[in-house]
């Protein structure tokens, strides 16, 4: 009478074992599938991160390229009419001024150059070095006002850095008359018809590495320029 019960119990046990095996196999399969899926998702995330990094680098580079190109173009345009150097050197300024003195027939030229001054205001913040300035006063005498204007133009173009003229005074001392010519011939020298003074801020950049030395020894700036410096850009 108990045979069927035994049979069913055996069936139940057998099926439980099979069910257990099935559950175990399915569990393992699910585990592996899930792991594989997670690994793949992780791989996707990593690769996406790599791409994002490359894209970010590309964007930075492109932006930088655009800025650099724009700055290079502006700089190239600037140096068409200006001295490309921004290293200030009092010695070389003397050479330039001597040349201009001769070129524009100045009867006299007196140069007063101040000590170096660092422009530390945040408006003048530079990255390639410290912005520096000399205050220069030129007192001159010459034959015509137009030569003074040309002198000013040459100063702005030939001097390194920026010549920011803030004072200009010109007065006419006389006219080019027969009396003037006679007097000049008698005195064996050119008598100036024009006198005046130019005050300007001479502004440039002291390269980062040379900051201290340049302040003490302006020749370092000159050396920098002679060895390529800004002329080479």
């Amino acid at each position: 009478m108990m045979l069927k019960q035994i049979r069913l119990k055996k069936k139940l046990i057998k099926f439980s074992i099979i069910a257990g095996v099935i559950v175990a196999i399915l569990g393992l399969l699910a585990f592996f599938v899930s792991n594989y899926s997670d690994d793949l998702a992780s791989e996707q995330s990593n690769k996406q991160a790599e791409n994002d990094s490359i894209r970010a680098e590309y964007n930075t580079l492109t932006t930088q390229y655009g800025l650099t190109k724009k700055n290079k173009e502006l700089y190239d345009n600037y140096i068409k009419s200006h001295n490309p150097s921004f290293v200030l050197d009092r010695e070389i300024s003397k050479t330039i001024l001597k040349k201009l003195h001769d070129k524009y027939n100045l009867t006299s030229l007196e140069i007063v150059t101040s000590k170096i001054d660092y422009l530390t205001d945040k408006a003048f913040k530079t990255n390639s070095g410290d912005m520096i300035k000399y205050e220069v006063t030129l007192t001159f005498a010459g034959l015509s006002d137009s030569s003074i204007y040309e002198l000013i133009d040459s100063l702005k173009q030939e001097m390194p850095g920026i010549v920011l003229i803030h004072d200009l005074k010109i007065s006419r001392e006389g006219d080019l008359s027969q009396t003037y010519i006679s007097n000049s011939l008698n005195s064996h020298k050119l008598i100036p018809l024009i006198k005046g003074a130019i005050g300007f801020s001479w502004i440039g950049i002291n390269p980062q590495d040379n900051k201290d030395d340049a302040a003490k020894n302006p020749a370092i700036g000159n050396h920098y320029m002679r060895n390529g410096g800004l002329h080479g850009q």
Partner: protein, 530 residues
């Protein structure tokens, strides 16, 4: 000895109804709602159950339902106190153990609660004597491969059968319904329903001669006896009774409704009932007994009103339930796994596609990056220096603050009516400047010598005024100031007066120059433009 009533091979999902009584048992094989095989055995003795063995073994997956139509059945209606449904079941179980012999197969049916008063519970407790014949049939049935679905009691199951017939005959408006079925396994089974509920059942064995007229007489007498008994149960009007008698054609011919004396009387053969209830091939035209028709109807119902189990079959049912649940669990698990694998697989494919796409994209953007690097390498490295120089150029080389620009502009205004004797051009606070704002002010002082003739005076004044106008127009945004024009005598000027021979008064201004002062720009925005 087994009597094979019909033999057909069945396909598809079959089930068996084993109806047992004191006179033997019938086995009906039901397939797709139709009876495909039916067998009769006089007893559970192996010499009689060979046919049963054969078809049951042929269909081991077909479940067996046992219907019992034996004498020793008890039905007791009990009213129990209005306790909770959980507690009332405990009370009923206790009462079953107490009121009936321990070996009986017992069960109960909830009849509902009283609608008024204490709302007592009404239960029908049912007991089936577990005598030797029943035990043998159970042993024969249960120990097979076929699943045992439980024991059904014919009187209970006939409630729905009787109601279905009354409905089909359109007689269901009668308060009382009597069904008499002549069954091979048991005899004449009577059930009486009042308002669709089983109220009385009895069974009678045909006695004496088996001639149809004698049997018909027996039936009529049994009906009369039943009616007498029903009067004790509250029957007041026999017109409120509808009776259906399922008998063989031969017996039917001898039955007379006048002898039965009920409101409505219907005599049908098993074949007619089979057709009436659309029980496919449940009976043949010549069939004498209602067993197979009842079996087919109950099979069609799908489940028993009260499936009973003894302790052993209960254990088997529990084991089967466990196996079924386990299968269901594994099935659900497999389904869940398939869904999981499907979804994860889809994710994997999608992710793989994305990775491929990312890798393709990587190739492109790496190329772009390399090109950008190569392009950048062509550019000089001193970007910061260029930036600084461009910044300084923009900051300090502003046209409006250029002395030469001023001189050029001013020279254009003179138009040969004046000469500049001397001038002073000055920027106050030359470094008071930043990229957003330029606070510098230019201060210019010029000493002009007017060269146009002083006579006629009107022409001279006009030329001088025109010069000042031109200066004003040229230096919009600057404050232009001047001293008195030469040739115009005001109270503030020194004059020399000469009277000649003709007494003409000749006045001559001693100062022949004008001092112009230009200050600005007053419009700060103009000063910011390069």
């Amino acid at each position: 000895m087994a009597l094979k009533l019909k033999n057909k091979s069945g396909g598809g999902k079959s089930s068996f109804i084993l109806m047992i009584g004191d006179e033997g048992a019938t086995l009906a094989q039901i397939n797709k709602g139709g009876v495909i095989r039916r067998l009769f055995a006089q007893s559970p003795d192996p010499s009689h159950t060979g046919g049963f063995d054969e078809i049951l073994s042929e269909n081991p997956s077909a479940p067996i339902t046992m219907l019992v139509d034996m004498m020793d059945q008890s039905y007791v209606v009990q009213t129990l106190p209005p306790v909770s449904s959980l507690n009332v079941k405990k009370i009923v179980t206790r009462r079953l153990q107490k009121d009936f012999p321990p070996d009986d197969i017992k069960g109960y049916i909830v009849l509902g609660r009283e609608k008024t008063g204490r709302r007592d519970w009404n239960y029908m407790m049912v007991s089936l004597a577990n005598h030797a014949t029943l035990q043998k049939w159970l042993e024969f049935t249960v120990e097979r491969e076929n699943t045992f679905k439980g024991i059904g009691l014919i009187p209970l199951e006939l409630q729905s059968f009787t109601t279905a017939i009354a409905k089909a005959l359109n007689k269901n408006n009668f308060e009382w319904q009597i069904l008499v079925s002549h069954n091979k396994v048991s005899g004449f089974r009577q059930v009486v329903l009042r308002d669709g509920k089983l109220i009385f059942t009895r069974m009678a064995q045909p006695f004496g001669d088996s001639q149809p007229d004698v049997i018909a007489g027996n039936i009529e007498q049994e009906m009369i006896n039943t009616l007498e008994y029903l009067k004790r149960l509250g029957l007041q009007d026999i017109k409120s009774i509808s009776a259906t008698l399922i008998v063989a054609e031969e017996i039917k011919n001898f039955l007379d409704p006048k002898n039965i004396k009920v409101g409505d009387c219907n005599f049908s053969t098993p074949y007619e009932i089979s057709n009436l209830l659309a029980l496919n091939e449940a009976a043949q035209a010549k069939d004498h007994f209602g067993d197979i028709v009842i079996s087919a109807f109950i099979a069609k119902q799908g489940k028993l009103v009260l499936p009973l189990h003894n302790a052993y079959t209960k254990k088997l049912a529990d084991l089967l339930l466990f196996i079924k649940l386990e299968k269901l669990f594994v099935g659900l698990l497999i389904l869940a796994f398939l869904v999981f694998v499907g979804m994860t697989g889809n994710d994997i494919i999608t992710t793989q596609d994305k990775i491929d796409s990312i890798l393709t994209e990587k190739t492109h953007i790496s190329d772009d990056l390399n090109k950008a690097k190569a392009k950048s390498a062509e550019l000089p490295k001193q970007v910061s220096l260029y930036e600084d120089i461009n910044m300084m150029d923009g900051l300090f080389n502003r046209k409006q603050y250029d002395a030469l620009e001023f001189i050029n502009n001013f020279a254009n205004t003179l138009e040969n009516v004046a000469l500049v004797k001397d001038f002073e051009w000055k920027i106050n606070d030359p470094l008071k400047i930043d990229s957003k704002e330029d606070k510098r002010q230019i201060h210019i002082e010029l000493n002009l010598h007017l060269t146009s003739p002083t006579e006629p005076k009107e022409t001279y004044i006009a030329a001088a005024s025109s010069l000042i106008d031109r200066i004003n127009k040229k230096f919009v945004g600057f404050d232009v100031d001047k001293t008195e024009l030469p040739g115009i005598v005001s109270e503030n000027q020194e004059v020399k007066t000469t009277l000649d021979d003709s007494s003409t008064i000749k006045e001559e201004k001693l100062i022949d120059s004008v001092k112009v002062t230009i200050l600005g720009p007053s419009d700060k925005k103009a000063g910011n433009k390069k």
